[in-house]
């Protein structure tokens, strides 16, 4: 399939954090979830894609264009929603359309106004007067109003009420429905990804732990729970993020190892399982 976003061997080092050899491919027509703990490197990856921070190594291409050599074209193809409003708080909402119209090749003023009307955002208000949820909606409106091919969202649903979250998820689903565009969606709220994600990348401490489609995750892993007596010296090391409690245990395992755990209940892993069990496993290894 056609890759809208391709990240190869990306690296970035800070004093106390290192993003190491990151490889991610986001295919057209998909919603790609980026999950990880706080400080795992999700936002850094996104800011590197946006060329808002300088990379140390690697290559990022959007629709086949290098994000630095062809920065202007790339930014025209990206709709970006940050975890916090990047608009200046004291600016009026209507002034945003003016600067966007000058900057973007395909700025659609009518579309932007349509979003504002739909979400009942008064364009004469200042950004500061909006709630966090409304500010996120404003960013989504701006991101969708210049015909982007890749939508990058960094924790977009964190400050939204349930209704608004569903509305945003519907928009994302519709955005990729033509099969030509894609979404990269970083979030803590893994339940959102379970609803719409086609692929998931798990990042732990700056390294990619998994990057695959949801189907592949289900094919590769299983979440099991059962009595503690099921565990023995041979099969316990095969568990990922084992959690023991008085009534039994639960863990994620590779589906290929399933025959080594008899009498356990099995379910398909979701994004939250992948994230939590991997983090627990990582904690044990460290």
């Amino acid at each position: 399939m056609n890759d809208i976003l391709k990240i190869e061997n990306l690296s970035k080092e800070y004093k106390d954090f290192k993003l190491d050899n990151v490889n991610i491919s986001v295919e057209a027509g998909t919603v790609h979830g980026l999950i990880g703990q706080n400080g795992a490197g999700k936002t850094t990856i996104i800011r590197l894609i946006m060329n808002m921070v300088k990379k140390d190594g690697g290559k990022i291409t959007v629709c086949g264009l290098d994000n630095i050599d062809d920065e202007i074209s790339v930014k025209n193809k990206i709709g970006y929603v940050a975890d916090e409003s990047y608009f200046f708080y004291n600016s009026k909402i209507k002034s945003i359309s003016g600067i966007c119209a000058a900057a973007y090749d395909n700025w659609d003023k009518e579309k932007f106004s349509g979003f504002l009307k739909m979400w009942e955002i008064d364009e004469n208000k200042k950004v500061a007067a909006l709630s966090k949820g409304m500010q996120t909606k404003l960013m989504v409106a701006a991101a969708l109003s210049h015909a982007p091919e890749l939508l990058i969202l960094d924790e977009p649903t964190a400050g939204l009420d349930p209704v608004a979250r569903i509305e945003i998820l519907d928009i994302l689903r519709e955005f990729v429905s033509d099969g030509k565009r894609a979404v990269l969606f970083s979030t803590h709220i893994t339940g959102d990804l379970d609803k719409i994600a086609d692929a998931i990348t798990l990042i732990i401490n700056g390294s990619i732990r998994e990057s695959m489609s949801v189907d592949e995750i289900e094919d590769k892993y299983a979440v099991i729970s059962g009595a503690n007596s099921v565990l023995n010296a041979k099969n316990e090391p095969l568990t990922i993020g084992l959690r023991k409690h008085e009534s039994g245990f639960d863990a994620m395992i590779k589906r290929a190892d399933l025959d080594k755990f008899e009498g356990v209940s099995v379910k398909n892993p979701n994004a939250e399982n992948l994230l939590t069990y991997s983090i627990w496993q990582n904690g044990k290894e460290n």
Binding site: R47, M50, N51, M52, V53, K54, I68, E71, I72, S73, V74, K75, N76, Y80, A82, Y86, F87, F88, Y89, N90, S91, K92, S95, I96, G98, I99, C100, A101, A102, A103, Y104, D105
Partner: protein
Amino acid sequence: MTSEERKRAFAVEKYAAGVGIKLKNAVITALIFDIIFIAVMFVVSFISGENSYTAEIFSPMFIMFVNFLIYGITSASTIKAINKNSNLETSYHIRSAYPNCSADINDFLSVLPLKKKDVCNYNAICFEFISAVNAFSWILIRIAVIIADNMGANIFFNLIGLYGFISMIFWTIEYFCFVFKTRNSPWGAVIGGFSMVIFMSVSFGLTDSSGTIEKISEFNDRLHIFGVFSGISGIIIEIIFLAFIIFICEMRFKNKNSISWN
């Protein structure tokens, strides 16, 4: 700069001016202040007569002090805004190209598909604007000096002449500091401030000691040797001088446009 580039730069400017440090307002305030005090000095010098103490009160130092205050506050707010988010590496280059904008604006601008040229052009427009205002201010001063001179108001002539000289040096330093030095540091403001203090001290020395007016007069006489501060030719020379500064700075912007962001 093509019309399309200018349009984009103005769009940036329009957004930035609405949320930034109100550069235009600061310059306009300073200009209005200049005009008011030139008028006051003009009137006072005639009412009080030559060698009056009243005229000295309205010395150019006061004007310079207020100008310095206006631009000092302006510079300080810029530096404060930049430092506010200095822990972020966000859009380092855009920030460095935006001495007059807050970091919050830079975050938004770094998301937009703006060329660095657009950002630099915005700066160029800002500086053109400052230069135009300064030039206009100088021309007003020069005209006032010529009129006062013809009417025999020597005190006014001398004080305003000195003010013109000092402010011209100050503006030149300030201008160069803005363009070449202050892009990502407060050094321009510091240098500008120091130069202001030095020139104010000189001014104090000349105006506050005994034989004040004679000293100022001698000083101005020496300046006249260069022909910079006398008559219409002075105005023309100053405009040429300004045009030269702008030309150099525009060249500087053009060179900067060719430098990679990374």
